[in-house]
């Protein structure tokens, strides 16, 4: 029978492609390989015009917008919001199944904003990192708290957790913010069942450890190196890939002479022990706040005729690095923004060429702006087109570097910045399709306002994202043509996902503008101050036809 044949073919595709999601959206980036790609194709470039709201879920907490990526397991969505609420929601009806709210210590001051970017789900538990730098496990069925552990006291460290945890085997792994404070970063793993600390990787080596020599004096103690987004995992190599943020002070490097390892690096850690397997530092001695903080996309593609195990990382400076994920060897690099002047490029080994460092007491125009040639909102990779889909922002800033003394847990920035239009044109944004290895651009979609929501790619040959005006939209993955849009009522700053229940495909997207970078937008686009706030999860499906 024809239908069975199609199903078998589908199942075989699935078996051959563990990097794609299907019914569930089990991990933060979809799967461990961070493709943000779904094999679901019920909604496709032909019928997407019939995409219509199925239900919407208002979280009731609009401060900081809604920046999370929902997780879906067996038809239930697990959504975190600002101020560390978690909701379990029926994926078909939008009914709230349970709500958990983390209680902060009394009078606690929140650093780096109240938002949260997602939970991890597995083994009957839901995990969240909190605003006071704790990790919490709650029961997946009831939302009842099982354990919580404070990673480091937040008033002292000036740090917390906003990124989603990564669940690998019997451990839950979390990063930490604090890269713009006087703080020393780390990545920490806890036993998933008991919360007992299993290992910690300090992102800045201590005296006597390899790499410590890349810091002058005592600068290593408060040198930043946060780990504020989520890692990826290669089960075959048993390596966790995590990105480490900028050194502190951000704009002033005079008191931290040296390369400042492992800031602005991708680190590969043994998943069981946290031991460093390899690292690749993108920006030695960063003085621009151009974190290597974002997602690491893992795929196997041919390089000079030979299939290699690759890792792709786009940094805040708007530059893409493709590495061999077995050993960290540099494969290729290319910019995703037109206006880039902090470097001229990279050499054949991935070393930066033509640095443009800001100067003490003098204003220097640096492109892109500190909000990033791209922000943390993630790219997608489609195995159908074999293209990478990423957003980018064309904006610049005047930077003045200034010496600064660290005060533990306090802001440690070393300068100031004022956002500017790029030379010769108004600031703008775009979403592009690239050959991921060569960086050859296939198409571009232009946006007036910065695109700050993640990209979702599907087997329906669609890519979805949203904009600050509130439009959630779909482009044809092959051409970049806009084929559908919907006004969600508030700007998009989260990560859309897709899932299937009872044979029906759903697309879910957070709506609700917020975050540090969203705040910067008003400096170049004053009208953005009027953009309405919100915190709603919108869920769409194809209109059911009357039979």
């Amino acid at each position: 029978m024809k239908l069975a044949g199609v199903l078998i073919a589908g199942a075989m595709t699935l078996a051959a492609q563990p990097e794609a999601t299907r019914n569930d959206w089990p991990h933060h980036f979809g799967t461990y390989q961070a493709w943000r790609y779904s094999a679901l194709d019920q909604i496709n470039a032909t019928n997407v015009g019939r995409l219509t709201p199925a239900w919407a879920f208002q979280t009731g907490d609009e401060e900081g917008g809604l920046q999370a990526t929902p997780i879906v397991v067996d038809g239930v969505l697990y959504l975190s919001t600002s101020h560390n609420h978690i909701f379990a929601i029926d994926g078909v009806t939008g009914r709230e199944i349970w709500k958990y709210t983390y209680t902060l210590p009394k009078g606690f001051t929140i650093f780096y904003g109240p938002w949260n970017r997602g939970v991890a789900v597995g083994g009957g538990r839901v995990y969240i990192g909190t605003l006071d730098n704790s990790v919490v496990a709650v029961d997946q069925k009831s939302g009842r708290e099982l354990w919580r552990v404070n990673v480091e006291e937040a008033n002292q460290c000036g740090c917390n957790i906003t990124g989603a945890p990564l669940l690998v085997k019997d451990k839950v792994i979390v990063g930490v913010t604090g890269g713009d404070s006087a703080h020393r970063g780390y990545i920490t793993a806890f036993d998933a069942a008991t919360g007992r600390q299993a290992w910690r990787f300090w992102t800045i080596p201590a005296p006597g450890e390899k790499g410590h020599e890349s810091w002058s004096g005592d600068s290593w103690k408060f040198g930043g190196g946060s780990s504020w987004m989520t890692g990826s995992y290669d089960p075959e190599l048993n390596m966790v890939y995590w990105s480490v943020g900028n050194p502190a002070a951000d704009f002033y490097g005079g008191s931290r002479k040296g390369d400042n390892l492992y800031t602005d690096s991708v680190v590969a850690l043994d998943a069981d022990t946290g031991k460093l397997k390899w690292y690749f530092q993108q920006v030695p001695h960063d003085v621009w706040d151009f974190d290597t903080a974002y997602e690491n996309i893992l795929f196997d593609l041919p390089v000079k005729g030979q299939v290699r195990k690759l890792l792709l990382n786009i940094n805040k400076g708007g530059y893409t690095f493709v590495l061999d994920r077995r050993n960290g060897k540099f494969i290729s690099g290319y910019p995703i923004v037109k206006h880039i002047n902090w470097i001229k490029g990279t050499d054949e080994d991935g070393n930066l060429v033509g640095r443009n460092d800001p100067e003490v007491g003098k204003s220097t125009l640096i492109c892109p702006a500190i909000g990033g040639g791209r922000s943390w909102n993630q790219a997608a990779y489609s195995p159908l087109t074999k293209w990478l889909y990423t957003t980018a922002i064309e904006w610049c800033q005047d930077v003045v570097s200034q010496p600064e003394q660290p005060r533990e847990g306090q802001v440690f920035f070393g300068g100031t910045f004022v956002p500017r239009d790029p030379p010769g044109e108004r600031a703008y944004s775009h979403l592009d399709a690239y050959d991921p290895v060569s960086g050859e651009r296939k198409w571009t979609y232009r946006s007036k306002y910065p695109l700050l929501a993640s990209v979702l790619a599907t087997a329906g040959n669609l890519v979805f994202t949203g904009d600050p005006e509130g439009y959630f939209f779909a482009l044809d993955a092959r051409t970049g043509d806009k084929v559908w849009q919907f006004q969600t009522g508030s700007g998009n700053r989260g990560s859309a996902i897709t899932y299937e229940v009872n044979g029906r495909q759903y697309i879910a997207t957070p709506s609700g503008f917020g975050s540090a970078v969203a705040g910067l937008v008003t400096q170049l686009w004053p009208e953005a101050e009027r953009f309405r706030r919100g915190s709603t999860l919108w869920v769409f499906a194809l209109q059911e036809r009357a039979h």
């Binding site: 929140i110 919580r148 713009d180 020393r184 919360g195 007992r196 600390q197 910690r200 910067l520 008003t522």
Partner: protein, 251 residues
């Protein structure tokens, strides 16, 4: 009504320009930083301050104490008083308030709370108590003082005087043994009710606050836990300095 420090300063307009210049410098280093209020208060992640026409009392309170449950910290502890006053004056000016008779920094310092002196030894003790380089193996992982640390163990500002030996051995009378299934571990009881039992699991640092339904867990007196087992990162000399700090705290 108690006059605000700023109101005490109206008599000295001569220094007004100085305090705004100083305030701007403090603002640029502290408030414009990162993704906060933006250069000159133009707005970053935190709200725009220009043209908001703030009230003196509000700005003073917010700058000193912060706003709980938001990203706005209080600067009372981290900025010297003259800098605090200067930045308050600057924020008032950019917010559009009438600052024609604004304050002088010297009087502001006089109006502020006196700072209790800390000797080098006490300072060293405090640094050791909260030493971030030690990771979870610092005193602050289980003891809170001066707004830092996690209050799991006793409040060490009371119960002294201490010396190095007393700090090494600690007190373990309140620590029980919890048994959940086949897992048995030392525990501090936080809550015990018909609905739930909440305990800190002390198996490894940092302690884990675990919640059980009463049927899942059994508690018995005594445990194998020792304070010496969690203070191994400190020498006796370190603990001596920490004892000095605790003595200073108790006064």
């Amino acid at each position: 009504m108690k006059p605000s420090p700023l109101l005490l300063l109206l008599a000295a307009p001569v220094l007004a320009q100085d305090i705004f210049t100083q305030g701007e410098q403090v603002f640029q280093k502290t408030c414009a930083q990162g993704y906060c209020h933006g250069s000159g208060g133009t707005q970053g992640r935190a709200p725009k301050l220009i043209g908001r026409n703030f009230d003196t009392a509000v700005v003073t309170k917010v700058v000193r104490e912060g706003v709980p449950n938001t990203g706005m910290p209080g600067f009372e502890r981290s900025l010297p008083n003259d800098q605090l006053q200067a930045v308050i004056a600057y924020v008032l000016r950019i917010s559009g308030a009438d600052v024609s008779k604004m304050p002088n920094a010297a009087a502001a310092v006089a109006a502020g709370a006196p700072v209790r002196p800390m000797s080098a030894g006490v300072r060293r003790g405090k640094d050791l108590f909260f030493d971030a380089v030690r990771g979870e193996k610092r005193c602050g992982t289980c003891h809170a003082l001066e707004g830092w640390g996690i209050p799991i163990g006793p409040n060490l500002a009371a119960g002294g005087p201490y010396d190095a030996a007393a700090l090494r051995s600690g007190k373990k009378s309140s620590i029980k043994t919890a048994t959940a299934g086949r897992d048995s571990f030392p525990a501090v009881v936080v809550e015990q009710s018909k609905e739930q039992v909440r305990i800190y699991d002390l198996t490894v640092l940092p302690p884990v606050l675990r919640t059980f339904v009463p049927a899942e867990i059994r508690l018995s007196d005594g445990s194998s836990w020792t304070h010496a087992g969690v203070t191994g990162a400190y020498t006796d000399a370190d603990l001596g300095a920490i004892a000095m700090y605790l003595g200073w705290m108790a006064r």
